[in-house]
Symmetry: C2
Subunit: 382 residues, 2 copies
């Protein structure tokens, strides 16, 4: 309840002096400091600088201060200056909770990630994407709240966060077909935007990186290098991401007039060791592939591992490409398809902000193009 002004009055000094005394700044003599400290203690003052304090120090009403903070153009420039100075003097920062309570918002977006079985991609996405996401959010005056998604039936962290006004909306990644999170959020009309595509008949805000195109780039690159017997190592059918990438392989092969042999196609779960085994099968095919495009970097590393065990060299004996351009790809010289993560993050936040503000965008589905990063693993002799 007590304001800085009351403390100042009680100590018989100015608001500014009271502030300086309480914050151990110089320019206040010891006895004054003492008087002020006692006054503060007797009033049970809590040291929070509020609008009221700034107003008292500037000699204006709190309304005026609020207007200055919110850049309301009605304020006379001289008054504005006065208030700005007072804000500086007292090092005032508005209380977010109060502001949010009043405006009924959180200026916060929620993001949770899955614990996936792919360590390197999981790591890569978190690093680059999360950073870019935070930055994009900050450009809107928002922040990112991260949370975990416990596997507990009857407990929905998304519902909890939105209903308690903790966040204004969500960003999703690693979407799947019939994604239950998307379903829930659409049903409840909760603002969200996703990185990734889900069901063709669901209309929600998302940005997608064209996986078909990415794989085409890889295959075309190999063809240009003289390869014809190009194998594909992917995941079992049914994942949105994997299926799109596989389609890209077929499309590029067809466009080049090459008939992919059935033995060139391998499917395994996204596990390094399995990829090793699958690589063996594929590379024993007849005609023998001279190149393998993989659905992601983990799989490509599995292939590399198999080649090593056979005393063959990736890039020399068999060309290999990965997908996602994880840090490992860079370290090991693996050609890989790179997604424009920065742009994805920025776009996803743009889409989410539109949702939060209730703005209807003409196009709330954005498809971005991946690019191919060529390294030694696809540079060797044909």
């Amino acid at each position: 309840m007590p304001s800085l002004k009351q403390v100042a009055d009680k100590a018989n000094v100015s608001v500014l002096t009271a502030y300086q005394a309480l914050n151990n700044l110089n320019g206040v003599d010891a006895s004054t400091r003492n008087t002020v400290t006692e006054a503060a203690a007797s009033l049970n003052y809590n040291f929070n600088i509020t609008l009221r304090d700034v107003a008292a120090h500037a000699g204006v009403s709190i309304t005026t201060v609020s207007y200055v903070l919110n850049k309301n153009p009605l304020v006379k420039p001289t008054t504005r200056e006065l208030v700005m100075q007072a804000i500086q003097d007292l090092n005032y920062h508005p209380n977010t909770n109060a502001r949010n309570l009043k405006s009924n918002e959180a200026r916060m977006i929620g993001y949770a990630w899955h614990v996936m079985e792919d360590p390197i991609w999981r790591a890569a996405i978190l690093d680059r994407f999360l950073y870019d996401l935070a930055q994009a959010a900050e450009s809107y005056g928002y922040h990112v709240l991260i949370f975990t998604q416990p596997i507990q039936p009857g407990f929905n962290p998304y519902e909890l966060l939105i209903r308690t006004n903790r966040v204004d909306g969500f960003v999703l990644t690693d979407t799947s077909f019939n994604d239950h999170r998307i379903k829930y959020l659409m049903e409840k009309k909760v603002p969200f935007a996703a990185w990734g595509y889900s069901n063709p008949d669901w209309s929600y805000s998302y940005v997608d990186v064209d996986g078909r195109k990415g794989m085409q780039l890889a295959v075309e690159h190999l063809i240009k290098r003289g390869h014809k017997n190009i194998a594909f190592l992917g995941w079992p059918d049914g994942t949105v991401v994997g299926d799109a990438r596989k389609q890209g392989y077929y499309d590029a092969m067809q466009a080049a007039g090459i008939e992919p042999k059935a033995q060139w196609i391998g499917y395994t779960p996204n596990i390094f060791e399995y990829a090793h085994q699958a690589a063996q099968q594929i590379l024993e095919a007849n005609p023998k592939p001279t190149a393998v495009v993989c659905v992601n970097d983990v799989m490509a590393l599995g292939v590399r591992h198999y080649l090593e065990s056979m005393n063959l060299e990736m890039g020399e004996d068999v060309a290999v490409t990965g997908y996602d351009d994880t840090p490992v790809a860079q370290l090991l010289g693996l050609t890989s398809v790179r997604q424009p993560v920065n742009e994805v993050a920025a776009t996803v936040v743009d889409l989410l902000m539109a949702e939060i503000q209730g703005v209807t965008l003409p196009k709330k589905q954005v498809v971005l193009e991946p690019s191919l990063v060529i390294r030694d693993s696809s540079r060797g002799r044909r």
Copy 2:
């Protein structure tokens, strides 16, 4: 301003019916739904369920509801049940902003990470640590707010977040000697806890993983495998982390009565390519090392790369160990020192919570032990 009760009264129905009507739940006939919707519209009702609504529906005062929410034991069990039911009926969730405004807290901890030059460690820490951090925070009813640290003089995100009541404290990682963030936070008495040690004469809450011990484990393991000529590849002196690890190398060598030759010691910045070059120098020493312990996994991969270029095999021809047990280490079979990331995160949050609550812990510096994960890179013949 209008409460659900007012809407209900105007439509001449119960609070519960009004709620059901407005949320398109079943059990309400179309005409009632219409009446309620109109009443809501005419009152400009905002669809937020508040304490007041729950109280009205349960037929008690808002205090009682608040007591139930805060598990105040004064409430009679029957009343409690009644209120719980009302909360259920209306799917009520308390507004965090209001609660935080009242209690002057944020129930949020801030975490920013550096953009470092080490991609795989950066990725690794974010993945494991951030997840564990979020989980630990959630166990206290807190959440993690992530932010970036722009390199702009005159702009201090830490100050901004704490002064605006966005967060109650911070978690730091990647601490350095004379860390300016720690200095600032200590000066301003802002609650924080760090993963990592800084200046010996600064007394702040931190958890540290004993780097000296970790390196000792690696060296002892190699000695047990029969190695004597063990080289060390580290960073230039002056980093808290690097120096501790180097000390561990010397200590373990000395304990085994081995005199490390000067040519066995290499220093380079934390860059893959440099590590490759340094490895060459070290391995041309006389007597020639049969093993190299590295200050982290990136350096170890640099060594591995050099070996490959010489047609030598890591683990077969030269034993190599890394540090940090990043995902890549796992994929490539690199023996590495693992930090108990989960425990670090949990402890750091424990320490931070004590700071926030103003509790003085008997021991606010915690040192945890690393462990050695043995893989093929150190298994081969001596």
